[in-house]
């Protein structure tokens, strides 16, 4: 008989499995393929040039194929088909290509459907929508757009690894979701640290606002939390009141939030394009 949601003994079991996996460092930290880690490194580098990015992507055939597929997708609808990476960079812009490459690399390695495939696919869409919404919020508030994207994309990056710890016949998606909610912050932060990304990205995953009220870290945490709530709305998931309440922390007024909601279709299109 399939386990029921909230079966206390089962929940406790899973709970301790995941807890000890995190504490003992046994959580599967995906080794990013070379291309992905190089794209990540380039994303945080002052002198990322189109040339460098093209070189990195060219070395990974799967990544390149995905990128060209996205560049030629309905949303971006090029008049002339994009057949080369150089054209893609020229057409989409360096920053966009970098975002797509990053998303593609994560999809291939981190959000690879294994156990609980449907759920993992959902997490990937949520990560993308959160990343694109983080960008929208950053732009509206004149904050750094690239950092916001990265923080949004990686906030719950450990969700698939947590799912992988739980057997196929174990709790329902809902039960698993609860476990992911509980453990993803800590596990994602550790993963991000192991990839040596900027510490503020790990802090956002950990939901750690830092000691300085209104400082950059607190601001980015609140922005990504709001982005996640708006992403949930646009993906038709359950409402996230706590996330939406971050609008007030960010001093966004009702009409500012409505403006962001108005970008929902655009965000969704970007998600469909990259997912």
């Amino acid at each position: 008989m399939p386990p029921e949601v909230g079966d206390p003994s089962l929940a406790t079991d899973q709970h301790s499995t995941i807890r000890s996996a995190i504490d003992e460092g046994r959580l599967r930290v995906p080794v990013l393929p070379e291309a992905a880690s190089q794209v990540l490194a380039l994303a945080g580098s002052p002198d990322c040039e189109a040339r460098d990015l093209v070189e990195v992507i060219k070395r990974d055939q799967a990544l390149m194929a995905h990128l060209l597929k996205v560049a030629n997708s309905a949303m971006l609808a090029p008049e002339i088909p994009i057949v080369s990476l150089q054209l893609a960079v020229g057409r989409l812009g360096l920053a966009r290509v970098r975002d797509i490459a990053l998303a593609a690399a994560l999809k291939a390695e981190v959000f690879r459907p294994g156990r609980h495939a449907a759920l993992v696919r959902g997490y990937f869409r949520r990560a993308l929508a959160t990343a694109f919404y983080s960008q929208e919020i950053a732009r509206q508030r004149r904050r750094n757009v690239e950092l916001a994207f990265l923080a949004g994309l990686l906030r719950d990056v450990a969700a698939p690894a947590i799912c992988a710890l739980v057997g196929d016949d174990e709790p329902s998606d809902l039960g698993l979701d609860v476990l992911v909610d509980e453990f993803a912050p800590e596990a994602s932060a550790r993963m991000i640290e192991s990839w040596r990304l900027p510490p503020v990205i790990a802090a956002v995953a950990r939901r750690d606002r830092g000691s300085e009220e209104g400082g950059d870290q607190a601001d980015l945490c609140a922005s990504v939390a709001l982005a996640a709530a708006l992403a949930a709305e646009v993906l038709g998931a359950e409402g996230d009141e706590m996330g939406l309440a971050q609008a007030a922390v960010l001093n966004l007024y009702q009409d500012d939030v409505e403006l962001l909601r108005g970008r929902g279709d655009h965000v969704l299109e970007l998600v469909e394009t990259c997912a």
């Binding site: 002052p46 960079v89 020229g90 057409r91 004149r142 300085e212 001093n251």
Partner: protein, 469 residues
């Protein structure tokens, strides 16, 4: 039915103008509501303008000083490769300390600080919307509009805050770009252009006039230009922009009408600011927004509607925090029928470019235009021991002195520290000092203030006898 809260004075906006207005009213014993849409007071000045840009200015100046000290020469590129956040490490704590101090000052004076966005429903009645959505009504016989300004969002330049920035978003850059086009020749454009150039960024500043900062005396601007060029900056003007676009890859492309094209990694659009009047519903107060997008006011900041004042950036130039504060204070004194001292009329100008430029009182060019007979005395910084010690040798101080009675009418300075050094000159102008005062008194040695003595001696040598004898 919504209750209406009554006060003696409502001030909308807690930037420099609004704060000073509110404090002046509270000090006069009136009950004051200060409405601010941001979570804390400070305005553009603290959050997006003066303080962040001055923090970066300080870092750039320090790096330059170190570079000069090491080699005796200006070394370019001292900031390249460093994350911008590292160069502004102190900015959050400076803003925090400043805002704390201001909030304390407001609360200490018994002012009610209302967090929300104000909107007129009548001339003396304002609705305030909180970020979370609640609304309240406030009314008062005196309302001061001090809602400030923000960067203009142009139709023809695609400001995306990722490649093309405005002065609010420029400091969200992660890294110093290798090259930057700055559009504009005003204070903000020139400050950022010179700061980024000093940090080693290849800067091209483009404006429609032949020189930046056209309202400052020519010799000062020429010194500014010389330093800017020494740091690798390039000024292009007069120039008409034909188009700006991001090439989709990595370059912002600026085309001029004469066919020239410039490509840089990033762009700062710093051509003009607009008053924060949208959403304020000033029509309900019986006010019209003029053709320049501002509110018309008289010398006391009073609009055409009795009891309604507008001060600071929302009322137009000069767009400086110092004058905004003075306007706020003056408007409230007028509204409450308090006497005016007139002392605040002498507002100095300070431009925190590299090098700094500052002026107070009658300028040399204004004097010439007015046909006033003046004598101008100069001091080159390189003649001062202190300037030699600091490697601050490119500066210049000019005294503008009345030829008839030798009184100091104005001071103009360019060079590191100009905005501070100016204040002795301001006291001299205010006090109506004769230029001889600067020669007869003993100054500390070595100091930059010595420039005043040197310039005064120059004036004395030029003054017609017997004054100069």
């Amino acid at each position: 039915m919504t209750t209406v809260e009554s006060h003696d004075v409502i001030v909308i906006g807690a930037g420099p103008a609004g704060q000073k207005a509110a404090i002046q009213a509270a000090k006069a014993g009136r009950s004051v509501a200060l409405v601010e849409r941001e979570a804390r007071p400070g305005g553009a000045c603290v959050l997006r303008g003066t303080i962040p840009s001055k923090t970066l200015h300080e870092t750039a100046s320090s790096l330059l000083r170190v570079a000069r000290g090491e080699t005796g020469l200006v070394r370019r590129g001292s900031g390249l490769g460093l994350p911008l956040s590292a160069m502004m490490a102190r900015v959050d704590s400076v803003i925090d300390a400043h805002q704390r101090y201001m909030t304390d000052q407001v609360l200490r004076n018994g002012i009610e600080l209302i967090h929300g966005r104000a909107r007129f429903v009548a001339a003396h009645r304002v609705e305030v919307e909180a970020p979370a959505g609640g609304r309240r009504l406030v009314e008062a016989p005196v309302v001061v509009i001090a809602t400030g300004s923000r960067p203009r969002d142009p139709d023809d330049v695609p400001v995306d805050h990722e490649n093309i920035y405005d002065s609010d978003s420029i400091l969200s850059l992660s890294w110093l770009p290798s090259s930057l086009t700055v559009l504009g020749g005003g204070v903000i454009a020139s400050e950022y252009a010179s700061i980024f150039a000093a940090l080693g960024v290849e800067v091209i500043q483009i404006d429609r006039y032949p020189l930046p900062l056209g309202f400052m005396a020519r010799p000062l601007v020429e010194r500014f230009m010389a330093a800017f060029e020494e740091h690798g900056g390039r000024f292009v003007g007069p120039a008409e922009i034909a188009g700006v676009s991001f090439d989709g890859v990595a370059k912002v492309r600026t085309e001029l009408r004469d066919g020239r094209v410039f490509e840089t990694e990033k762009m700062l659009f710093a051509l003009g600011r607009v008053a924060n009047l949208d959403g304020l519903n000033v029509r309900a107060a019986g006010l019209e927004i003029n053709a320049r997008g501002l509110l018309d006011v008289d010398g006391n900041g009073q609009t055409l509607v009795p009891g309604v004042y507008a001060v600071g950036d929302v009322a137009g130039p000069p767009g400086l925090a110092a004058s905004a504060m003075e306007q706020g204070r003056r408007a409230v004194r007028h509204a409450l029928g308090l006497p005016e001292s007139g002392l605040g009329e002498l507002v100095p100008t300070g431009i925190y470019a590299i090098p700094e430029i500052a002026a107070v009182g009658l300028g040399s060019e204004a004097a010439a235009k007015a046909g006033r007979e003046v004598v101008i005395g100069s001091a080159e910084f390189r003649e001062l021991a202190r300037a030699q010690i600091c490697g601050n040798v490119g500066g210049l101080l000019r005294l503008v002195v009345d030829a008839a009675d030798a009184r100091i009418l104005g001071v103009e300075i360019v060079g590191e520290g100009a905005t501070e050094i100016l204040h002795l000159g301001q006291a001299a102008v205010l006090g109506g000092w004769e230029v001889g005062m600067l020669v007869e008194n003993v100054f500390n040695f070595p100091t930059m203030a010595e420039a005043y003595r040197v310039a005064a001696l120059d004036v004395l040598a030029r003054l017609p006898s017997p004054i100069g004898a």
